[in-house]
Amino acid sequence: GESVGLHLPTLSVQEGDNSIINCAYSNSASDYFIWYKQESGKGPQFIIDIRSNMDKRQGQRVTVLLNKTVKHLSLQIAATQPGDSAVYFCAEIYDTGFQKLVFGTGTRLLVSP
């Protein structure tokens, strides 16, 4: 597969700023999307999800926006904290009848105190 290890997009923000992480997904038939957070040496951790019949969903300090027209997903983190530093992946699910997550390439978020 495509190697993105040394070229992972990085977003650097100051503590307290709002962060916006973007993702382009590939399949217009995908009907469910999830944002995962992955800290160094750990497995992906669920943050928030959204179904294709919605364009916005809010959680605690996080908001996901879905634009199906341009196949774009974004994750907004309010009042970013140093503990938010991680790699963030969007994942899409095709309706294959069984959940098969297709992960995007990821964005590294660095939060400075």
């Binding site: 597969g1 469910y32 999830i34 992955q38 497995g43 069984f98 959940q99 098969k100 997550l101 990821g106």
Partner: protein, 114 residues
């Protein structure tokens, strides 16, 4: 909070050897998955498993790979003859239903083939 657990956390093996990676999914979950992540790359789907059989697998999941649920709690991934390129983090995940619900991931097993 229930979690998916994986053992070992790190496995070093010689090329050509067989390895078994173990996972204990969340107890009331019915769907199980293996994913892998080569260092610095994105997480890739390997296989999904439901009702004691493979429901879907990727092109990565060739004849060298197999999965098993030997008892009511464990879910294993076996690589019969490891290659250098099998070196990666392997993540087990489970979900309560097959679609439209979050999958919970384990902490991963780092496999190093030398």
């Amino acid at each position: 909070e229930p979690e998916v657990t994986q053992t070992p956390s790190h496995q070093v093996t010689q090329m050509g050897q067989e390895v078994i990676l173990r996972c204990v999914p969340i107890s009331n979950h019915l769907y199980f998955y293996w994913y892998r992540q080569i260092l610095g790359q994105k997480v890739e789907f390997l296989v999904s498993f439901y009702n004691n059989e493979i429901s879907e697998k990727s092109e990565i999941f060739d004849d060298q790979f197999s999965v098993e649920r030997p008892d009511g709690s464990n879910f294993t991934l076996k690589i019969r003859s490891t290659k250098l390129e099998d070196s990666a983090m392997y993540f087990c995940a489970s979900s309560r239903t097959g679609v439209d619900t979050e999958a919970f991931f384990g902490q991963g097993t780092r496999l190093t083939v030398v």
